[in-house]
Subunit: 166 residues, 6 copies
């Protein structure tokens, strides 16, 4: 798996090395990651990466913001959107739908405890279906885990990510 | 898998039902869970459950505090420790080692971004080895994800958990 | 007074011992407590205990959550409600009226400074009368004091309270 | 009691009127107040008022800061100290002993949950005895209650208090 | 310039001395100050000082609250308003227009990042024109700078300011 | 002045346009800016830009992080440092001296009120002289103002800044 990624991108993202010492956790981590991120029904791939960048920035996760910022620039074909979302998610250039998605993702970061069925109904009124709501929540939740693992190990983004697709 | 749990405990914990609509995520979630929680080298099983209860309480996760509180009472053979950790983790009856573990877990909940190598060295000085440090961090990270999924769905703990092993 | 309580419950709650070294403060404390809690006009006794449990949990007060959690389970004839309110007051099983009471009590805990007459009028619109509003506020205020005294002395709940009425 | 105060100060402080509708609470409130504030063994009366002003300011309590600010100016024979403590308690002109008292009082306002016996031992090392520690804690706790009652009712300080002893 | 102020007020406000060691910064600082504060089109001078007092109090700036509190009492011909705004800006005696101004100023203190064009439109609906909105924002911004400079140097308000115009 | 900048950089940074409607404020703003930023005694120009990027990120200021991030990459001849400081200032690749500077700048952002002479003495012990300490504080203070002005107007960084010097 690592070799496939290396062939495709020309380098091995550091996250693979950081988790490799625990094979069972490594496999589960990437299985969860791929189930949530390698999909484009409902949320588009760019929307998924937007959630990652905006929520990882709140959690001060250098690796996730830089690495997924690069992927977001590619997916969204937009060289500005990753920095906009990382630095100030409230003022980024978003469509109305993207605004709904990001606002809910930000709420999931720090205040999931007070989310009630009324909030989910509001999201449906704002145009998200149940699968999309789950995806916003589950991607935020998965990166709440990833951000903490990356912070625990002070994981460095590969230098290649910083300048990619600008 | 669900049937095995049901046979053992006499009921199906609600977390299984909440995740069942997404089989790939379900499998990855429980693979990660079991890799971190069904182990007793390094951190004991009771210590692992202590981390879950203390950090899930900070995240206001009713399901995780109640369900893992029950498991903690069983693992630690102590009917008081789960409520102590959930309500005030700083005043719970902990050994010096448990205090080190819980203090670091609490830091991982809300302030992982400022953790540096100096902090990890301090944990080694306080008696944790590298595998134990990883486990404290990784369990906290995994439940940062779980807490958000449970909060998203307002997941209810089964009534059975509340009174178990008191 | 202590003997009466001991006869009724079979043990002396630790709060009596913690305050006994200051007789004048002891008498004033319990006079205020009884004036607010031994009453059932307006707010029911269960509603009063709900306020105590929910607000004391925000203040991390082990004694008040555990001791009044036990009383709440008895008053409400509900073995689950105390843990629900202590762990996540936004998702507890509450009636509409109880929701209004608890939401206002939570506001009193950390943000009483910005409460204005408009907020009180809203509570009246939501069905509370002036005496009930005062009681919600005054009970929260009294336990803001109690929680700090219990925390100052790391007051332990008697073991009996943890498992009572579950 | 109200008449005595009126004779002494020439006006009836509004707190008496705000609590008069609940005689039992009124009596308990002032009994507790007097037990803590009308005393000068251990903490001096000026030190007691310093605690009130500094902690009530954190709680945004207009009545307590203004009324007790006036009393503090009188007790300390210092026209500047009340405003200093209310606006920035870290930079007020305090003696080393007053600094210890105020720092602990501020901790009691918002973070009593994490106070442990080690903290109390540190206060003893810094020169407070057990009765003084209790008084700092109990005065802060009592005004945690008073501040919330005053905020609940948007209690106005009498105009007389603002300019007194400047 | 300093001499003019001294002649007018009878003393040299300490802020002049604190900045004098950096003449270029001194000149720029007072040029910006005077451009924003010595003006009475749009916002009145009293309204400008209200913004200073309310926002400087949030930033714990002793110098700005005390010195501008004195100026506010003079400008507003009101001996109570400065203490009201400094201690609890939500309960001060304000007109509807002043309430709009102060609420927006408070938002600028700690949460300017999430202000959007919708918020500015709301202010226009509430009766402020574009120049007034800019002034509320720019005065708050200027004192965000001043408060930090005063805090850095623990700048003392001259004793004269405390009792002025009470 | 604007034309000079335009000639040098090939475009007019948007900050010039945003402030041009108020000539007196414009002149004072840039006079203060240049007095603090166009200098290299004591703090180097790269160190000054590091302070801007790290503190503006805490304030969610898109314009300042992106525009000064570009300048920092140029001044420090380091394509990675701006993103590192903006996303996680605690884990950026800093020298010991830069670490001291940035830690104090971060404290100035949100907690200048509790800074005392002891803190300044600690900075001297850590190797900063009085002029350098003033510069760290004054640059942070100036951008506390700038960040709020930029946020007030939702000021957009010119597209050119995002990709510059990567």
């Amino acid at each position: 798996m690592i070799e496939t990624v290396q062939e495709k991108s020309g380098f091995i993202p550091n996250v693979f090395l950081a988790l490799a010492h625990r094979p069972a956790e490594f496999r589960a981590f990437f299985a969860a990651h791929d189930a949530l991120m390698d999909k484009s029904e409902g949320l588009s791939k760019a929307e998924r990466e937007m959630i990652v960048v905006a929520t990882s920035a709140i959690n001060d996760c250098l690796y996730c913001v830089v690495a997924h910022g690069a992927i977001l620039r590619i997916r969204a074909k937009n060289p500005l959107i990753a920095d906009q979302l990382a630095i100030n998610p409230w003022k980024a250039d978003l469509t109305t739908r993207e605004r709904v998605i990001i606002d809910f993702a930000l709420r999931m970061v720090d205040d999931s405890g007070s989310i009630t069925d009324d909030d989910l109904q509001q999201l449906r009124n704002d145009g998200l279906d149940n699968d999309e709501i789950w995806d916003v929540g589950a991607i935020t939740a998965f990166f709440a885990m990833s951000n903490r693992l990356a912070n625990l190990t002070s994981m460095r983004p590969n230098d290649e990510f910083f300048g990619m697709a600008r």
